[in-house]
Point group: C2
Chain length 346, copies 2
């Protein structure tokens, strides 16, 4: 007669204790990699099924993880979330998502919502830049609930983060435009109280300086990351006495707005004005006039965030692991900035 | 000395009972619209703040609502979710989101995850088409937790749904292509066990019949809704002895794949082959060769779903409200199918 396989059956088969089996199945850091794999493989072969509810009751864990993003409808954040889910799902965790619409109050409420939903940890990209509004984060930390930032982060002691090197990204994009022969490069930025936008700006500025090009603050416009604001800012830039010959935008959406405005004014891209975006949203590649953009490897960012979270919960709360993982960005050069190619063809 | 405003202060001011104030603040259906508005406006003027936690404890409600979608990274589902949040937020509810990646097992697990997170209701678009897999839905209903479907629905007694008229959408798209002079119209479908894809197909077929065009099942290909499968299916269609002069796709992503494949084979759009997509994703409008598509009014769909949910929770579980709301789709005609215009210009 077949019966339901328990950890005791696995322990007997491997001649180890049930406690060791339990720890191995729960990825406890005290168990060696070798034992963990042996136990998990044996459990799989014996068709062992963990009783999730019993496990949750015993461990006090819900196996739910909360993810908070400014908005879900970008490929960038959706890919991060996919990376997180791919990594966590195999470990028995489920992901629940909240969005803030870039609103600080919503962010605070989302944290409360996820706490009420009994999540085991929160992985998030912040919408809240004011220093005085750290109360929610501190509440989480006081409760020993792991908190991790990805992309838009704050520097808080004990909180790990996974970001891309935004300074390098801004530098690379600007250097590329200079290499293409551009001399008056404008920058569409966003709220620089966010580190990511500040760093992209600083990378842009440094590249200008390193190439002996004078920085002109009139060429930097701070806007929200959307098509409409990209169009408006570009209109403003084009109305200058000495308009730019390139636009580096810290968002693909405002870059698209720039492309639309340039086209509507009959300005040739890339011959008369180059455009570079940021985030490598799929549309930048599949448009007829493909847009050069920065790849931030969001899937990888999500996976790394999940891995750091797992390390934290498995190590136990007594070990402080503050990791700062910084990924290297990649510039995808496309038609919107391939000026030398375009000019050579003529 | 100022003190914290309570419902007793509001009751005193309006000369009504505290119970009435409480009911009015919680949108109880027993309270008249007039009283509800009066109480809520007075509460706002007096700067009354509801104690959420106390309220939750008292009512046994979490004020969290779960939303499950196949995937978050489409404008369509993101807009539905925005509609839901806009409508529910003002009523004190917070939304937590799960995605299934079109996987039935994930759908079942998501329902459990949301139940463990103590949601007051679940609004979802299904990934699960097999009839025998209704156990999770039935579990929800047995617990008197409101369940609502939007877009991808199942017909389950007592479950309301908000959809667009997919038959009409398929019919309109096809009629438009016929009006543009197309005679061999192919259809990129998806799994027709889903009502939405079946209805789009049936609308397409009926339009052909009504216009005296013979239906040819070789021109219907069932694929997943993505660029790659759209390209492949189009390649297959173009290799036919008698290739189509139009493609109606039940997804914008496969329509984009069709556009890419047609272009790569040097076939002129719309002159030699028209393309119509479905969902009105933003890229269909902003591409140079803009793509004709069907607007399903996702924001409105989300708002309606939220309203039906609120009716259900406010009416109390004893009243069965099974609503089937069907929105009217709109065809946005763009370059990819404006054949007569294109031919007239020559």
């Amino acid at each position: 007669m077949s019966h339901k396989i328990t950890i005791y059956d696995i322990a007997k088969k491997l001649n180890i204790t049930a406690a060791t089996v339990s720890r191995a199945l729960n990825n406890n850091a005290k168990i060696s990699e070798k034992t963990r794999i042996l136990v998990q493989e044996t459990a799989a072969k014996m068709n062992y099924k963990q009783n999730k509810l019993a496990q949750a009751l015993k461990s006090g864990k819900s196996y739910n993880v909360g993810v908070i993003v400014p908005r879900i409808d970008s490929n960038f954040f959706a890919s991060i979330i996919r990376g997180i889910e791919e990594e966590l799902y195999s470990q028995g965790y489920h992901v629940i998502i909240c969005q803030t619409y870039n609103n600080e109050q919503m962010e605070i409420e989302n944290i409360n919502t996820l706490l009420n939903a009994q999540v085991d940890g929160i992985l998030m990209s912040i919408s809240n830049v004011s220093i005085e509004k750290n109360a929610s984060f501190n509440r989480l930390l006081a409760k020993n609930i792991p908190l991790l930032f990805f992309d838009r982060k704050k520097n808080i002691e004990g909180v790990s983060s996974i970001t891309v090197n935004d300074f390098e990204a801004g530098y690379k994009a600007t250097q590329h435009l200079i290499d293409e022969g551009c001399k008056r490069i404008a920058h569409l930025s966003n709220d620089r109280l966010f580190e990511i936008f500040k760093d992209r700006f600083l990378g842009y500025k440094q590249a200008l300086i390193d190439n002996g090009i004078q920085f002109d603050e009139n060429l930097v416009i701070e806007i929200k990351s959307n098509i409409e604001e990209g169009r408006k800012a570009t209109k403003k830039l084009l109305s200058m006495k000495n308009p730019p010959d390139a636009i580096f935008s810290s968002s693909d959406w405002s870059a698209l707005g720039a492309v639309q405005e340039l086209k509507s004014q009959g300005i040739k891209i890339p011959e008369e004005c180059c455009v570079v975006g940021f985030s490598n949203e799929p549309f930048t590649e599949f448009m007829e006039l493909s847009i050069t953009s920065i790849d931030q490897f969001p899937l990888e960012m999500g996976k790394q965030a999940a891995k750091v979270f797992l390390e934290q919960v498995n190590n136990g709360a007594h070990i402080t692991t503050e990791k700062k993982i910084v990924l290297t960005p990649k510039l995808h050069i496309r038609k919107s900035s391939s000026r030398r190619d375009a000019l050579n063809k003529k």
